[in-house]
């Protein structure tokens, strides 16, 4: 296997509040290899965005961050602010869920791409502008020359997200972090944007972390999947391992609870209850109170993320009891 591009090791992120520390990310470790797409899935509040923001070092100063993040040999958490700024946007770029808030309303789209380029490369304006137009064309914005001179509000949601992608890839980053890149978009437009994202990722050869709660999106776009729940990684594996050979009750429950477009399932299997609070969480496995397989030990100790096969790991005491019967082996 190649050297990993990104190596996150026992990352912890906590937000101090009046009532105590909200531990949004606990003991999260993972690797991203060059050229691959790692999907991070999980319910709302499971810590997906907080993890991404920690990699970009975009958290407030008061945030308590522990562990280490190694990107291409650089110790991210050890960089000073200036050094981090030169990594951001050049080596690691991020695409946000809401392109309207991420684009500046008072500059033209072209100008903003130019600025993104010139932040890291000393190129003359006309060269940067030409490049901006090329980028817009690459992400499928029709009439890119004219469009580059327009303002964000003159773009539709799908077009804005394309512009965001163009900006993100303008410096050919080694790692793209896409945080729910299509959640705000309509299904037909979502399909277009995902296609653009897949294409540029393939063309530029960059690695991608795709954050989403949509298991469908994962199925069609990722190489590997990391499932998060209540601030921890519950399971990680190749896409087929997660979808067909899951060794984790939460992953299985999640897959069982979604209605199927094919219409096979009559009655859904919901997960009872609600996710736990991240402020003073109960001891043991965060999923235990909702888990149909939980035993008493589950609510006393937090299980380790144990390897199942090479690259497949699950955090569950009963991992050995969860042998896949159906599906492929």
């Amino acid at each position: 296997m190649t050297e990993p591009l990104l190596r996150v090791d026992s990352l912890g992120v906590g937000f101090p509040s009046k009532a105590g520390v909200v531990q949004a990310v606990t003991d999260v470790s993972f690797e991203v290899h060059p050229g691959e797409v790692l999907a991070v899935v999980g319910e709302s509040g499971s810590g997906k965005s907080v993890t991404a923001l920690a990699i970009m070092r975009l958290h407030a100063k008061s945030t308590i961050i522990t562990g280490s993040i190694d990107f291409d040999g650089i110790d991210i958490l050890g960089l000073d602010d200036d050094q981090m700024r030169s990594v951001r946007g050049r080596d690691i770029a991020m695409i946000f869920q809401d392109p309207m808030t991420a684009l500046n309303p008072v500059f033209t789209v072209g100008n903003q791409i130019v600025e993104a380029i010139q932040a890291h490369h000393k190129v003359p304006d006309d060269v940067a502008w030409k490049r901006a137009v090329e980028l817009l064309e690459m992400v499928g914005v029709p009439e890119p020359k004219r469009r580059a001179e327009q303002y964000p509000h003159e773009f539709s949601g799908g077009m804005r997200q394309r512009a965001m992608i163009a900006m993100a890839i303008s410096n050919e980053p080694k790692l793209l972090i896409a945080d729910e890149p299509t959640t705000a978009l309509d299904v037909t437009v979502q399909a277009q944007v995902m296609e653009v994202l897949r294409e540029v990722q393939r063309e530029t050869g960059s690695a991608m972390i795709l954050i989403t709660h949509d298991l469908g999106l994962v199925a069609g776009s990722a190489d590997r999947v990391q499932v998060m729940y209540a601030s921890r990684v519950m399971e990680r594996g190749s896409i087929d391992e997660i979808f067909y050979e899951s060794r984790n009750p939460y992953t299985r429950a999640l897959l069982d609870s979604i209605p199927d477009l094919g219409g096979v399932r009559e009655r859904l299997e919901p997960i009872p209850g609600n996710p736990p609070s991240l402020l003073n969480p109960p001891p043991g496995c965060g999923f235990a109170p909702r888990c149909s397989m939980a035993v008493s030990a589950c609510s006393t100790v937090v299980p380790e993320l144990v390897p199942v096969t090479d690259g497949h790991a699950s955090r569950c005491i009963r991992v050995d009891d969860l042998v896949p019967v159906g599906g492929a082996a």
Partner: protein, 344 residues
């Protein structure tokens, strides 16, 4: 089938205003000439992309917004012509569950009062309403004791249960569910979908189920209407709609939905539509889908296709519907055209 609810040529226009004097400079036809029937204990799904008029349709049915024209009949009563007093009694039979579990509960009232409110409005005594609230809360999987708490103390899924309890308070016959699970996480979504399923049987309800998630709609509905820019593009039994979509839009919509199954996802060919949904303030002439339709021809630009029956209640608004057994790709190929296919 005698219909419980009959909608004929319903239209809702919003004024577009601009300038300091808020002068009207045009109209948005958010719902355009929509007709359908809803049977007893039936669920009619309504799907479509953002802004296609689903919410407007749902609210017009209950006259929470005044329809511009058209009629809505509940049994043999004309909802659209009902007086204030008649409307009040109609509201006992027709209720609504809202999309946003945060905005749909009054933050200043405890749950008990929120659920009791419809009963109090309709003259049920405080004591009796209080007792029924306990039962209702229990019915939706909460406890009577939860009634003392305020909305912000509940999770999204619990709030949606409270909204459902409120809609059941008057023992209605029809409930319009406006995206009841869209704001919920998948694991919670299933709880609420199952609950809706249960109460439908228990209280013999008919549902109008509005959603944008095609898998959810398929799961929940008996028949489904697909809307595009204010119009119904296709209306059919759910299996017919999903297995034999006749409208090119339905076809591409289904094809665009990601499926949570990597193998199926790898095996299928996903058609990518061109462009975005046009603005409803300035809809395309003729067939509103023609700007994005891979099958569009001159006739589509000139002439609006009517919703017509193509066999056993399968209704389609398209001049060139896709026949059973045929796919959109076949047709596109036969016409010598191409469409973009996603590269999974």
């Amino acid at each position: 089938m005698t219909a419980l609810l009959r909608v004929d040529n319903l239209v809702k226009e919003y004024p577009i205003r601009a300038g300091v004097f808020r002068r009207q400079i045009g109209t948005v036809q958010a719902v355009s000439d929509v007709s359908f029937e809803l049977g007893h204990q039936e669920t009619l799904g309504v799907v479509g992309e953002s802004g296609c008029g689903k919410t407007t349709l749902g609210r017009s049915l209950l006259r929470l917004i005044e329809p511009t024209s058209g009629t809505v009949m509940y049994e043999d009563q004309d909802v659209t012509a009902a007086s204030k007093k008649e409307m009040r009694s109609l509201r006992r039979n027709m209720q609504m569950v809202f999309q946003d579990p945060y905005a749909s509960l009054n933050p200043r009232l405890p749950i008990r009062d929120i659920v009791a409110e419809p009963m109090r409005i309709h003259g049920v005594s405080k004591k009796e309403a209080g007792e029924r609230v306990g039962d209702l809360l229990r019915r939706v999987g909460l406890l009577p004791e939860h009634g003392n708490r305020y909305p912000h103390e509940f999770s999204g899924g619990q709030r949606q249960r409270i909204g459902i309890a409120r809609s059941l308070a008057l023992r209605p016959k029809v409930i319009v569910l406006d995206e009841p699970v869209s704001a919920l996480d998948v694991s919670i979504q299933a709880q609420v979908l199952n609950l809706l399923d249960d109460i439908q049987h228990e209280f013999q309800l008919s549902f109008i189920f509005i959603a944008h998630d095609l898998a959810v709609v398929r799961h929940a509905s008996d028949r489904i209407a697909v809307m595009y820019l204010g119009r119904v593009a296709e209306l059919a039994d759910r299996d017919a709609l999903y297995e034999q979509p006749a409208h090119p839009y339905t076809h591409s919509l289904l094809s665009a939905v990601p499926i949570a199954d990597p193998r199926r996802e790898r095996a299928r060919k996903r058609i990518l539509l061109q462009g975005d949904v046009p603005s409803p303030a300035n809809p395309p002439s003729g067939c509103r889908f023609h700007t994005r339709c891979p099958l569009a021809q001159d006739r589509c630009v000139a002439e609006t296709p009517e919703l017509r029956d193509v066999g056993s209640g399968h209704q389609v608004a398209c001049h060139f519907p896709i026949a059973p057994g045929e796919t959109l790709l076949d047709r596109v190929g036969a016409m010598g055209r191409t469409v973009e296919i996603a590269s999974t």
